[in-house]
Symmetry: C2
Subunit: 305 residues, 2 copies
């Protein structure tokens, strides 16, 4: 791996060289390196591009890293990764995709991640997207994430896209069984002429299921963002959707949530706000010696943390 690869790996997965435990590094549509552990077995799919990750029941305090790197111009890949997580696990899964495109052609990653989370298991899943490079070629990422939560299962799903992705269409679907819980945190910054669409379906099927969506975004320059977070309650359940967006320059933001109750014991709440940075916040930081631009960056950093 070269300098660019290492920089991308740090940006998207916080990886400083080879990680501990199981991992699978994909580079320019090829397997770069892989390691399974005793409890986490990674195998290539034989019928389509992608991998299967089997995590044995009872696996605790282990992690698996599966970053994807694209450093060539003109790549267009579709990858299917399936996660089979046994009962009573407690694992961290770190995904993410970094594109360095110096060329004239578009480079694109499409990934479909499907999780089967066993009874009473806890999963922390994080996925960072990052793009860079001086070429005119676009950097595009279209991730789909589908999560099946069995009874008492829990997932914390964190997605981050900060700078460099020209176009993204995200789709996230969670089906929560009895007493299952999901926390979805989305952070998104677009600039230039970028566009981002994020669609979510959170289906609270089981009694006692609960979910929270926390979405924070910043749209700068003439970028465009559209959000469709949908929360559907089919039983005695609790769901909360919270979307906050900062709009700047000539940007446009649409937020179109849905809360649907199909049961009188479903309790669903939604809040959304779109606005610019408050002038007095900038002023306060400027009196502490920051320039207007530094103050703005400080506020945006805090907002997206």
């Amino acid at each position: 791996m070269n300098k660019i690869d290492l920089k991308l790996l740090m940006k998207i997965a916080g990886m400083d060289g080879t990680p501990k435990g199981a991992f699978n590094i994909r580079k320019n549509s090829q397997l770069e390196s892989r390691a399974s552990s005793e409890n986490i077995i990674i195998t290539s799919k034989t019928d389509q591009p992608g991998i299967d990750i089997h995590i044995k029941p009872g696996t605790k305090k282990e992690s698996v890293h599966i970053p994807v790197l694209i450093t060539e111009s003109g790549i267009d890949e579709m990858v299917y990764n399936d996660f089979f997580i046994g009962e009573d696990c407690d694992v961290d899964i770190v995904a993410g995709c970094g594109i360095h495109n110096d060329g004239p052609e578009c480079s694109q990653h499409n990934g479909i991640h499907t999780f089967y989370v066993g009874k009473n298991s806890r999963v922390k899943y994080s996925e960072k997207h990052y793009g860079e490079g001086d070429g005119a070629g676009e950097r595009i990422m279209n991730p789909q994430t589908v999560v099946h939560l069995e009874e008492g299962a829990f997932i914390e799903l964190e997605t981050v896209q900060i700078r460099g992705i020209d176009s993204t269409k995200r789709y996230t679907k969670i089906i929560a069984g009895k007493d299952a819980e999901a926390i979805i945190t989305e952070r998104l910054l677009t600039h230039g002429k970028q566009s981002a669409v994020s669609e979510m379906d959170v289906i609270l099927d089981g009694e006692g299921a609960n979910a929270r969506i926390i979405s924070r975004s910043v749209a700068q320059d003439s970028s465009q963002q559209t959000f469709y977070p949908r929360m559907i309650g089919n039983s005695k359940c609790f769901g909360h959707v919270q979307c906050d967006s900062i709009i700047m320059g000539d940007a446009k933001i649409r937020s179109i949530p849905e809360i649907s109750a199909n049961c009188a014991d479903a309790q669903l709440v939604h809040e959304a706000a779109i606005g610019k940075i408050a002038g007095d916040q900038i002023l306060k930081l400027m009196t502490l010696g920051l320039t207007e631009q530094e103050a703005e960056e400080k506020i945006l950093d805090g907002f997206l943390k």
Copy 2:
């Protein structure tokens, strides 16, 4: 007018006989009675069913009542009413439709109301829908309301549908100019197998425009409700959407709002909640001597007031 007519008039327009000022009473698709005033002139349209209401500039503290009664089974009407309100007015407009259907056939009222509200004018518009009768025939109301607000104009739009309407599809559109303001209050109760769909587009076009949507609903039995309140900010403006629903029995409620900012100085906020009546609220009233059902009714009354 007979006893049923008078009861309906009281229910939908708070009218105890003939009102003061201008009015137009429509009954079973025919003109029942009409009066213009010096400043408010009502004329029948010549090209299609409906009336034109011209309100002279500077008209203040006057009102116009335009209730619609349907007491026959099998009526299906489409009515176009246009309101031309001059500058610097301050008027109350009371509409509403009551259907008493004792027969086997469906009785249906479709109304399209269009308002042109002149510079700096204030309008209070209220519209109540009510249905009754022992027949198997359905009672259906599909109102459309379109409001053009000129610079500095204000409208308070209050719609109420409480009991008796089997099916309703409401559409409300407001286009607000510079410094114009709209307050939209919607109250809706459905029961039995009723269905209600309410769609709104509030377009904040002018600088300084602001709008609030306050929607409160109760869905009982196996009734269904769907809400699409949309607020679009095209300039420096402020918009607030608030939807609260109480769900009971086997009812279903979907709330699909949209806030869209096309300008960095647009500030838009949305809040929605769906849930059942809090158990401790009922308990508290029961300790004061109310039965459970009385407590429930008391809470619903308060919620829809």
